[in-house]
């Protein structure tokens, strides 16, 4: 299972980012979300979302094996074991592996909680195999 996005349906509202930060950090802060929104305005006028495909490349390069599989079959970061080496960041083909030390003392990524899908009103996000 993984998260999918249809960019044509995204309206750029960022509800997904708030829901994501609330799940990952128990905080309201869209800068601490595990999805990325790239608006292309004023032209051509399209939104581009980047989401985790659960490819596992991050887990394969993690030297402390901090990126593990959860009960949903998704890779998540075990915060206690992350040493902030950032090896995972350049490996992510979608640029959705995050280390921002000014915001958190561990890496973070999508753990497939589904909260972003729950709040998306336009059906731009969904979970499937």
């Amino acid at each position: 299972m993984r998260l999918y996005v249809d960019n044509a349906k995204c309206s750029g509202c960022r509800a997904c980012l708030v829901a994501c930060s609330l799940n990952l950090f128990r905080e309201s802060n869209p800068k601490k979300a595990a999805l990325t929104l790239l608006p292309h305005f004023p032209a051509p006028g399209v939104y581009e979302m980047k989401v985790c495909t659960q490819c596992g490349d991050c887990a394969r390069v993690c030297p402390t094996e901090a990126i593990k599989l959860n009960e949903r079959g998704a890779y998540y970061v075990d915060y206690d074991e992350c040493n902030l080496c950032e090896a995972c960041v350049p490996e992510c083909p979608e640029s959705v592996m995050f280390v921002r030390t000014e915001l958190a003392n561990h890496a973070w990524k999508c753990d497939l909680c589904g909260d972003c899908v729950a709040v998306c009103g336009t059906g731009a996000l969904w979970i499937a195999d």
Partner: protein, 608 residues
Amino acid sequence: MLNGYGGSILRVNLTTGKISKEPTPPEVARDFIGGRGFGIYFLTKEVPKGTDPLGPENKLIISSGPLSGMLVAGGGKCDWTTKSPLTGGYASASLGGLFTAEMKYAGIDSIILEGISPKPVYLFIDDNKIELRDAAPYWGKGTFEVEKEFKEKFGEEYQIAVIGPGGENGVAFAHINHDYGRQAGRGGVGTVMGAKKVKAIVVHGTKSVPVADVDAYRQAGMALYKACKEAEGLKEWTRYGTTIVVSWCDEVGALPTRNFSAGSFEDGKNLYGTVMREQIVITDKGCFGCPCPCGKYSSMKRYGTHVEGPEYETIGMLGSNLGFTNIEDVAQANLLCDDLGIDTISAGGVIAWAIEAYTKGILTKADTDGLELSWGNPQAVFALIEKIAKKQGFGALLADGVKKAAQKVGKGSEKFAIHVKGMEQSAYATHNATAMLISYMTCDVGAHHNRAWAITYDLQVGRDKVVPEKVARVIWLQNFRPMFDVLGACRLQWVELGIDRKLYEPLLQAITGIPRTWEDLEAVGNRIWNLTRLYWARENEGFGRAWDMPSPRFYEEPPQSGATAGQITRLEDVNRLLDMYYEQRGWDANGMPTPATIEKLNLGAFVS
């Protein structure tokens, strides 16, 4: 720590360059909650009586609310309050988009701009790094170019609010543009920012907003989203946004046509939401956290341009009200206004007045810099929009707004200057819609629809009825609906999707820790409404009943065609509406809150 708030008020004294922060006063948060509540509080308390709207003593107060930027369906509203250069009274404009959330995440509830900068500047906010920076390279440029330059310079996470040449040049109805197409549109808030020599505000915030009960917050937030997603009207509403009502207004005679001389447009079908969606819309564009985005982003092949919109109001004011018959022309006029930094509603109102004056021979080519004005003439309108924004020639006359332009021109043109209190009426024709008429007459910023959108209620209960129940409905709407502007959220989830408003109560409580029912919130709304009325009276000698009168067009000139042909509200009924309204509000016959009302609402401290 104030749960649900950024926690600080940012003051920027542009005269001295001093920047300071103070904690958001808990008692102000308790009594006025946020957004438009903070706006009127600071305006009344801090801006002296008789202040020149364009002078250094006026302030521009920009406020988010406790629901802004949170897990709230539609938490993207930002209030811009000031003393209006258009009306000389209270101005409070609502900005959608992403700006309000970014302010909160930078830890700021209100930005208060004071004084006048000696040179053009922009305010740069990156969490705690706050600076005034030189705006010389940006001064004179359109809003889109400046926003794009800032996005490229700082990054997509930065949010930008910017004025155009209209604000720089002192057009009385200049707006603030944000996110390539969202505006704080009405009352000249952009004019005040321009007078202060502030070209733009750039904001970026990475802080988390504290909440009282994170689990309850998540649960209540999710419940609100779930209700929106399950709402029957979600799909249809999201497909068309506010343009969904163009056809309805045309059918019931509420679509402003040729300067509100009628309420149905014979070519209206070309401007319907269905036509627009098929012909020009390329994507939906939502404000922060919105599951049902009304924003439509369009591409105009005829012009090779893009614009957010047009929305219903703009289709009315720059479409049917000018006799336009092609949606791309409307969208292009919209784009010009957005880029040049002027309000589409007021621009449409004052241009329609000019066209009518020209067709009646009151204005001639000698007055209009050689422009031939006629209905359905996009090229002339595009030229006028540019002249207004630059205050060039004939444009300088229109740039003061329709009330002053008509006073200057005279010759009976005052009769078809469609405004209340100097604010051009937004896009609902009110020849025979008495609830909507009294709503416009008593709206606290001038003839604007958003406080009490009562036109559907007119149709529901009998449009020509003049009964206390109608007035009561308008008063309830005026107390209730603007509370969304206080909370920093959008009302359309309630209006358009019919979401149970009770869902907001546990959400607000989980965020702020303070239990409040809608009845409590409506009491705050009533208090704010009365305070804005007192502000008008404080600032305007002789303020009272006469200021609430609508354009004579709605009680003297029945439309000749369309759904409301031959229909009119009699002057006697206009006055009856006002009598009922004042009585129910606890105001005297001149429309002033009585001493008993002031005491009951505990507003004595605000009356000197």
